[in-house]
Amino acid sequence: MSYFDQKEPPKREDRLHAAIAHGSTICSLANRKNCKCMNDGDRLFTQGSICQLLPALAIMNSFADSAVLLHGAIGCGSCVHSQNAVVKSGNAARQRPVKDGLWFSTALDETDVISGGETKLEAAIREIDRRCRPGHIFVVATCIPALTGDDIDTLIRNLQPQVAARLLPVHCEGFKTKIWATAYDSVYHSVGNGLLDWEEEEPLFTRDEFAELKDEYLRKRTVNVMTVSSMGRVDELELQRILGSLDLATNFFPLFAKPEEMYKVTQAAVSISTCPTHDDYLLYHLQEKYRVPYIISTMPIGIENTSQWIRDLAAFFGLQEQAERFIEQETASLASALKEFEPVFAGKRAFVSAGEIRAFVTSGLLTELGFEIAGIRSFHHDEYADAEYQKLAAKTEKDFVVNIANAQPFEEANLLKKLKPDIFLGHWNGNGTAAKLGIPASVIYNTGLSFIGYKGVYEVARRLCKQLKNTTYNRKLSSHIRLPYTEGWYGEDAFKYIRQAGGEASA
């Protein structure tokens, strides 16, 4: 039975043996014999992070003609106030109407917690359908309904015939998984079950054979490029340019997709992942159900990884020769453009903190620019990271620390105090620790900045060069502001609080 036949996707701890607590080094990670088995450990001391609701909302709010109804307490979904800015700018970049995202909360109260919230949810769906007429309503289950036992799936099934909008259940119960990347599976589960099937059109009375041939030709050259919410339009355009050089067409999915056009993802020649953390759940489904093969290997970030990403795709279409010519041309012109930055970056030590794959490919990019890697923090580990560990270990001369942590800035503060890198690259809302220690910081995840492809390499270099030109802001800040940690903590082993199944941590 497929995962998609279940009510909700399995958590990634079970499906991919994903883990969030580990302290190690790049060489020992790269040389591990049994790749899958990293302890599903935890910590004795923890700080907050995010749950699957946040990345899921970032995707759902970008869909056109949709409303998102959060079934939960009034605060679940407050993060949309930030994400909404990305929705607006993303629509503007795609020449669509610039409006605020449309989200709602059933705002469950004490009475609902005791007597259940299904009545309220049903009335909310009816009223939103009537008042706003959205094409689709994503009904999102948060922690509370999981505890009260509200059954959103049955409710939606029974209510669907009575409302105009397409109703789609999404499960994002925060306490159920430590791996927030499960969010992608939750959204894809919902999209995969509710939005990918289409009705065959009635055949025309007179066949237009030329149009049919054209459609067929185009379909055979169309690639599903799986997008992630950190990718702005600028990154999509770079990938479109790359595919265009191979005479391939792009179908970007799922960010900013129009639900009524989502079925097209089932008709492409092939799907290619741009982030293995993000896409595998849907890619398997597309292959299993719709026979769309897939490529999932790396993120097209950095020179080597971008080239590898292109080669993987070209090999599928038998376009190796064209691809090699393109790669040669691109890397040569990039190399000469990067020359001006070489003296700026040479010998500089960088610390990188980001999502699983992104942290490693960005580190790869930095080594290509001439940086030395001082350390990496990756938000979680699963089997998809193994290839990146190995590539990076082969690329770097010195061994360095790798910390698997779902945020946990206290470990980062400890490491940064000891490692004293020249620059820190961190996720959105994850640069504060380094900044308050006086380290220049460069955001790794800011939708709208360029990161991807050959253009991304140059733009990241340009940005880093700018940021290193004047590091006054963070330096001065750090002499007046301090982090909330005890002096004693900085003297401890950074991984002191990691507790692993079968014994305490040693690092």
Binding site: L44, F45, T46, Q47, G48, S49, I50, C51, Q52, L53, L54, L69, G72, A73, I74, G75, C76, G77, S78, C79, V80, H81, S82, D100, L102, W103, F104, S105, T106, A107, D109, E110, D112, V113, L121, E127, R131, C132, C143, I144, L147, G174, F175, K176, K178, W180, A407, F410, W428, N429, G432, T433, L483, P484, Y485, T486, E487, G488, W489, Y497
Partner: protein
């Protein structure tokens, strides 16, 4: 009975409590919650609080028990105790404030018992019940104040003449909280008062501990912090007054007079300050005179705000700036007793204007209220349009402003399109800032 809220302009009790606890001096919040709540609030501040995220211990640095399915099944109190002990080792604070959440309250963790074993005079640990289902972020603000007043503030101390406490401004959900608190505190100190504001630059935990010595609590809100003021009175026998958030000369004049009356401060002292401050305010306005009149900067207005700003802004526009607020919208859902007080205020504007006042949580419904108040054209040749107009609201009201061709300024949460650090709208200076920002929006494209 509503079944949903569209684009809520607040977070939940836990979100408000976390912002409040994080704004207290030397305080480490500990969230007894699932792991995602902290990030959710950090992103909310990033998008709603004029670029202010966290503080000393905010954002993703906030320690928390990060409860999982196993705690849901077996209980989370032990995990909380483990987390508090390790927090003592890692986090540098003088007060530890445990905040409960939907999950941990629903599974019935006995938090009071759990912290009783760990709290000590040297390292006090207190708790507030702040599950998201209990209310919105303003409820959480009130709940944290209540737990401070109940479990941290000293009991039985003697009252000190002229010592007062001031609250009613919820950190980060009033985006201008720091500026507003500083301005009001400094005004009151000119009346000879020693003011404790809990969240200001000169506040400390020691001053909070001895805040029971105050002779009066001044709540600059008809709603936020009022329950805490009641509890304070019961616990520490300090009476309180509630006054609307004063914005600009008219509001601030009556604010000072009411405080003066409550404390029997010499009338000449109060009047003297009011006179000087007004003279100063209008001295700044003097050179604006030509432009204000030449550009015809008078506007019709729609005001959209929380319980503090809806009235404070409307009064300023009506009674100081001479604009014509036609519709005022409160986007919060206060209890009936508070709602009545708030509604009453809109019937006593000095200008004689009587704007329509509604409670409405849903952004997209506001335009409907406006068209009820000011019906659109119905084919007549001459139509007295709602123009020129201005929408003073949150950044969510930009669509409304655009749809009626009005200028717009974000003041009430969420404020996604402005950077706010020490700017205030309270007091006389706040009125000047508001004039700058409103008129700045009108001439921005000049």
């Amino acid at each position: 009975m509503r079944n949903f809220i569209e684009r809520p302009r607040y977070s939940c009790a836990l979100g408000g409590a976390l912002a409040t606890a994080g704004a207290l001096p030397d305080t480490i919040p500990i969230m007894h919650a699932a792991s995602g709540c902290a990030g959710n609030f950090a992103w909310a501040q990033s998008g709603g609080s004029g670029l202010q995220v966290g503080g000393y211990c905010g954002g993703l640095t906030v320690p928390g028990s990060n409860v999982q399915e196993s705690e849901v099944v077996f209980g989370g109190a032990e995990r909380l105790q483990e987390q508090i002990r390790s927090t003592f080792e890692v986090m540098d604070g003088k007060l530890y404030l445990v905040l409960t959440s939907c999950v941990t309250e629903m599974i019935g963790d006995d938090v009071r018992a759990a912290i009783a074993e760990l709290t000590s005079p040297e390292r006090p640990v207190i708790a507030a019940e702040t599950a998201g289902f209990r209310g919105n972020s303003y409820f959480g603000y009130d709940a944290v104040l209540q737990s401070l007043f109940r479990d941290f503030v000293e009991k039985g101390g003697t009252k000190v003449k002229n010592r007062v406490n001031l609250w009613g401004i919820a950190p980060t959900f009033d985006v201008f909280w720091r500026g507003n608190i500083e301005v009001l505190s400094s005004l009151l100190s000119r009346l000879g008062l020693e003011v404790n504001t809990f969240f200001g630059s000169s506040d400390s935990l020691d001053r909070i501990r001895t805040s029971s010595s105050a002779v009066l609590n001044i709540i600059v809100s008809d709603v936020y912090g009022v329950e805490a003021a009641r509890l304070f009175e019961e616990e520490h026998a300090t009476p309180f007054i509630t006054l609307p958030l004063p914005i600009g000369p008219s509001g601030t004049d009556s604010f000072l007079r009411k405080v003066g009356e409550a404390l029997s401060i010499r009338d000449s002292l109060v009047s003297g300050i009011i006179e000087r401050e007004n003279a100063d305010y209008y001295r700044y306005l003097d050179p604006l005179t030509d432009a204000y009149n030449d550009f015809d900067m008078q506007r019709y207005a729609v005001v959209v705000g929380d319980c503090n700003y809806a009235y404070g802004l409307t009064r300023f526009l009506s009674d100081d700036l001479g604009w014509i607020p036609e519709l005022a919208v409160c986007t919060d859902e206060p209890k009936a007793e508070f709602a009545t007080i708030l509604a009453e205020r809109f019937t006593t504007l000095e200008s004689g204007l009587r704007p329509a006042f509604v409670f409405e949580t849903d952004t997209s419904e506001i335009v409907r209220h406006l068209s009820e108040r000011w019906p659109g054209p119905s084919g007549q040749r001459y139509y007295n349009a709602f123009s020129p107009a201005f929408v003073v609201g949150s950044s969510l009201d930009r669509d409304l402003a655009a749809s009626i061709g009005a200028a717009h300024l974000s003041v009430s949460f969420p404020v996604v399109n402005r950077a706010v650090l020490d700017r205030s709208y309270a007091g006389y200076r706040g009125g000047l800032h508001l004039v700058e920002d409103l008129l700045g929006a009108i001439v921005g494209g000049r």
